[in-house]
């Protein structure tokens, strides 16, 4: 049996989902999805209050949680958190926040041993590369990636968060690699050999582009769209 990382109980106006503040975000959300899917019919349509304890949850993680709930017909209406990072994330996603801890899950002793892992580590960190990424180079990041230079054909950037290229993007990039559909990719010249955000795939149309300008790629209705920024 898996450990209890997720507690779900009924409230007057919906459901309260309490998530462990210490386990990895990935395993917590995976278990949440599994728990909801077990009783999909029962939960459908509910208003959800999420209790996140002291865990700082960056925007892209909270947004993937929101998307996870919405895909299952649930509405995230309130976030309870003691972390200011989480509250800011919630505010930017237009989700109400409440910093009273109604029912935090008491961490069990066995779990406290693993709690030495700093929860920040799974979070908002990014890496900056101040050089052109040439063919054969691959970057993996749990956070965001900023490249101050070009991403050449044959180079690869895979990030759980966003990818910003201050230069020509001509290689392979995968933003939101953990499934976060709110991730974005932006570049001064957007000509990737392949661009992925979460599960969506985009290929540059063949042939040369006439006008080169900074562009942003994002997911809308399960499709990647590329918008120019003027």
């Amino acid at each position: 049996m898996q450990e209890e990382l997720v507690a779900i109980k009924g409230l007057n106006d919906g459901l309260l989902i309490s998530l462990s503040a210490t386990e990895s975000w990935q395993s917590v959300t995976d278990q949440l999805a599994a728990r909801i899917d077990e009783k999909a019919q029962f939960y459908a349509g509910a208003n959800i209050t999420v209790e996140l304890g002291e865990r700082p949850v960056p925007k892209y993680e909270l947004s993937s949680l929101k998307a996870l709930l919405e895909r299952r017909g649930l509405t995230l209406s309130l976030v309870r958190s003691g972390s200011s990072t989480t509250q800011i994330s919630a505010a930017s996603l237009d989700v109400a926040t409440d910093n009273h801890h109604a029912a935090p899950i008491a961490p069990e002793p066995a779990r406290q041993e693993t709690a030495t892992v700093n929860p920040e580590e799974t979070g908002t960190q990014g890496v900056l590369f101040r050089r052109t990424l040439r063919s054969g180079r691959t970057i993996h990041s749990e956070g965001h990636v900023i490249v101050f230079g070009d991403v050449n054909p044959g180079a690869k950037v895979i990030a759980a968060g966003d990818i910003v290229v201050w230069g020509k993007l001509r290689g392979y990039v995968h933003a939101g690699a953990g499934g976060d559909e709110s991730a974005i990719v932006c570049a001064l010249e957007m000509s990737p050999s392949q661009l992925r955000i979460a599960e969506c795939v985009f290929r540059s149309p063949p042939g040369r582009r006439k006008k080169i300008m900074p562009e942003v790629a994002l997911v809308r209705d399960n499709q990647i769209i590329v918008e120019s920024r003027e």
């Binding site: 050089r131 052109t132 990424l133 040439r134 063919s135 054969g136 180079r137 070009d150 050449n152 054909p153 044959g154 020509k168 001509r170």
Partner: protein
């Protein structure tokens, strides 16, 4: 520290590294420099053939490294230039017979007596390339104006940068200006746009190169050849002269603009 070690590399095979090395060696010698060229492509030697010195080989690079021959014994003097020497590769062994440290030791000895030590790197990114890269003061990357060669050059440039030998300079070999004009071949600007390296030479496609290589008289010695002239210009840029790029085309536009682009950087 005396002479300068210049490694000629490419990543992809067949783009003209060996031809470039031979021609640069001859051009530098004709400019009055003392030059030794080393064929680091152990197991597949061919620099000696292109330079027309094949039948004079007694000892080779591996013999020097393993102590069977003195350095001077293995060096073959060119037929025409008294200050141009070749150290040939062994044909019977492989790249593991020489280590990067061996190459550093060897080139440090050569630096004392020569102005330029040119190393012809083998294709690929493995041991042979490491051997050629380790002693380098400067790296020239040869590429053709085609997508796969540029991709491999990009990979090599990344490795050169990682080894702190960068950024290196680019020789674009076998450019056909009529095909560029029709949009069927990458232009030198396209190559520059991807690789972002300073261009030290643009060599036009020239049938004389092949016949020259086959006859063992490198094309630089042929004053009729545009490619030969272009290689000569590369050599002059290597020794620090400011040589304008040749006009390879009736339409002067693109190369002039490229020169402007380089000067602007």
């Amino acid at each position: 520290m005396g002479g300068k070690v210049v490694t000629i590399s490419s990543g992809k095979g067949g783009v003209g590294k060996t031809t470039a090395t031979a021609n640069l060696g001859i051009s530098l010698a004709s400019l009055g420099k003392k030059v030794v060229v080393i064929d680091a492509d152990i197991g597949l030697r061919n620099l000696d053939v292109i330079m027309g010195l094949e039948n004079r080989i007694v000892y080779d690079l591996v013999d020097i490294v393993e102590g069977r021959s003195k350095l001077r014994q293995a060096m073959i003097k060119h037929k025409k230039f008294d200050d141009l020497f070749l150290i040939p590769a062994a044909q019977t062994r492989d790249k593991m017979a020489v280590s990067p440290e061996d190459m550093v030791k060897l080139t440090d000895e050569l630096r004392e007596d020569f102005d330029y030590v040119l190393i012809d790197s083998p294709a690929g990114i493995e041991r042979g390339f490491r051997n050629a890269l380790e002693p380098a003061d400067e790296v020239l990357i040869v590429t053709n104006p085609e997508v796969s060669a540029v991709r491999d050059a990009d990979r090599i440039i990344g490795l050169i940068e990682a080894a702190d030998k960068g950024p290196g300079k680019l020789i674009i070999n076998r450019l056909k200006s009529d095909m560029v004009k029709k949009g069927e071949m990458l232009s030198s600007e396209d190559v520059f746009d991807i690789l972002g390296l300073a261009i030290i030479g643009i060599i036009p496609e020239d049938e004389l190169v092949l016949s020259a290589s086959n006859s063992g008289v490198p094309v630089t010695l042929n004053m009729q050849s545009k490619a030969g002239m272009a290689f000569n210009n590369v050599a002059r840029r290597v020794i620090g002269e400011d040589v304008p790029f040749m006009n390879l085309d009736e339409n002067p536009g693109i190369f002039q603009r490229l020169v402007g682009l380089l000067n602007g950087r």
